[in-house]
Symmetry: C2
Subunit: 409 residues, 2 copies
């Protein structure tokens, strides 16, 4: 298996101010391209450190990826450091210089910063990689069978540049990986339900990861050349367990609910008690959410449940605020107020106090009302206050998802 | 200046799954103790890599800090790797072994995992560092003038152990650093107002950092032995500019508002339009917030502003939803509903559409009502939709803060 070393460059990384996110991104990407990442290093903007670490890395690995230190200022030493480490010259590329100057003029300002021409210095024999976002181009240098890839530091520049160049780095060990996120089905049952599909393909590696808030993730991995078989396998899983699948890869529950609401042209409103606005803020964080979100009320107290939502005092006295009756009345009051297609209400005991033997901390009622029917659930969540609130939010949004795909009662 | 190298150890760090947060924490801490951190490295659970990197680090630095690889399993190679790198023996500490076993029995389970005794192997001459959270002790080894500090990987174990040992690592270049966060005062005015205080102390280094959402941060840095002078300087600044100071060090606007509401025994409610629940979710994220937070309504549409808050149709027709009149009526409606001591309302145009020549995107009205008087502001924020929403939230919470410290109108 080919080895890789990542070197992130920038004194700010060593001052404890900036968190290095490039290493994690590159580790993940390189792993999928078939590399064994054996080391990551961060050094400051110091040419000797860069030279030393690049030389070591070239000895220890087949691929060396650097990020950062490509700006136009005195501080930026990466081009120089890599050139020295590889015993290569830095050559001014005049065409590239004109391109960079044109770009800077278009996107930044009339005045070209001094030293911008530094960014047009290319290591001899290197391939120049276009920066579609900023001014600093990347470089790809081949030394025999080894490769040094020089990338800019800002993630918004590094990621598209890496995406554009990655085909050139793929090894015979490259693999294809997809994730499906499930909610409402235990890990053991998931495996039982899917065993004929999962174990029909010898070349697909299966991993399940359980997260007590967000459900079970199923990760499927196979050789890059078998990616179509893996996609077909996912389709089969989807056919069988659609009810439980809320997302692919990095998709979140709220993104999934937003997409469904938009596709079905439905608008939603929330009445939140124990979650204190968490459900709304999850949905509102999805870009475009105002198209599907009418509004919300956060009603901690019984008094507000009465006054805003018209929950009857009788219900509150007889059944309590944490009850099936109360969440149903909350939804109906919310519907009178908002006329939303879907009204979702939650009321529960997030703790640490407020529990009783009949309704211990973690008891939550969730109701979804479409103006005709109620879909009401009682749940019991373990955890501290924040965990209970988070679990309630995800579960409540999943209730909406199930309704929208036709599994609501 | 003494140099330091950080080595984080664990194969999971190189698989792109876990984000290494220990390096940033240690960089920040070591900087304050007077070290120049010259490199951070991450390697897998591989004894040869650990030996190689520790040897290099000992050559390049005065202090080497490792994190991770101290568990009881086969994978955990840090003790062994450091011992080999330093040409020292690993010695079983039988007292330590009994302590670890007792601890595991108390906190985890009756069954002592096999190999747990591995965690009682101590590098000869090392000082053992107690782990108050988990089972793996740390170690501090002195080699001439150089120090190797071995810490566990999980941040919840690493941080308290580092806090307990850090006094031993302080150098003559150690410094003391505090930050004050200001809102509502431009950087230049801040410096002007404070110049007599700021430049009275030659040994205090001053830095200002501007964040277009959260205001100006003033960072004051001085030698560790002068920390009392620096604290007195901060008191003077506070006396003069209290109105603008919302936090010290990492304190956020919402934490500051929460503390004030609690101290003054006031309860608050929000009526949010363009912020879509963001103000509520900021406050609700502060532990204990339910003591001061009555509830909120998120009312995007005019219809909901009328129906829930009783904003008059005439106001909406004549002045629009984004107007002084509308936010005042929102607050009054909210007060009727909630009887909260303080009612905060916002309405604005977050964009990207909805702007007009008189009310361009970024126009926001904020009103704070205490049942008697209104404190109403018109603001104009630049940025995209999310930035405008965020700026509105912070500004609105700052309005509450100013009111509570006696600067409201």
């Amino acid at each position: 298996m080919k080895k890789a070393v990542i070197i992130t460059i920038g004194s700010e990384l060593l001052r404890g101010i900036i968190l290095d996110r490039n290493s994690k991104y590159l580790c993940d990407q390189l792993k999928k391209l078939g590399y064994d990442v054996v080391k990551t290093v961060s050094v400051g903007d110091d040419v000797n450190s860069i030279v030393r670490e690049v030389r070591r890395a070239i000895e220890e690995a087949d691929l060396v990826v650097t990020s950062g230190g490509l700006g136009p200022t005195e501080d930026d030493k990466t081009r120089e450091g890599v050139a020295v480490a590889l015993n290569k010259r830095l050559i001014m590329d005049h065409d590239l210089k004109s391109k960079i100057e044109k770009r800077v003029r278009e996107f930044y300002s009339e005045k070209i910063p001094e030293n911008i021409s530094k960014q047009a210095e290319v290591i001899e024999g290197a391939e120049v990689l276009e920066n579609t976002v900023g001014s600093a181009p990347g470089q790809l240098v081949r030394i025999g069978n080894k490769v040094v890839l020089i990338l800019p530091g800002p993630p918004r520049e590094l990621i598209p540049m890496f995406e554009a160049v990655k085909e050139k780095l793929r090894t015979e060990n490259a693999f294809y990986e997809r994730t499906m996120s499930f909610y409402g089905i235990p890990e053991a049952k998931l495996e039982e339900e899917l065993k004929d599909i999962l174990y029909s393909q010898k070349d697909v590696e299966i991993a399940t990861m359980v997260d007590h808030v967000h459900g079970v993730k199923l990760r499927l991995t196979t050789g890059f050349e078998k990616r179509e078989q893996l996609d077909r396998m996912m389709e089969k899983i989807m056919e069988r367990l659609e009810r439980y699948v809320y997302g692919f890869d990095d998709e979140t529950m709220e993104q999934s609910v937003f997409k469904l609401l938009k596709r079905k042209n439905k608008k939603i409103a929330f009445a939140e008690s124990c979650t204190g606005g968490l459900i709304s803020s999850h949905l509102v964080n999805v870009p475009g959410s105002s198209e599907v979100f009418i509004g919300a009320v956060v009603v901690y107290s019984n008094d507000l449940k009465e006054r805003i939502l018209g929950v009857s005092r009788e219900t509150l006295m007889k059944y309590g605020a944490v009850s099936e009756e109360c969440v149903r009345e909350m939804s109906e009051g919310l519907h009178r107020l908002t006329k939303a297609d879907l009204c979702l209400s939650v009321s529960g005991i997030a703790g640490p106090t407020g529990g009783t033997p009949e309704k211990p901390v973690g008891t939550v009622f969730i109701d979804l009302y479409d103006g005709k029917s109620h879909y009401t659930k009682k749940e019991f969540f373990k955890g501290d206050r924040n965990v209970i609130r988070l679990k309630t939010s995800v579960n409540a949004l999943n209730t909406v998802r199930e309704y929208l795909i036709g599994f609501g009662e």
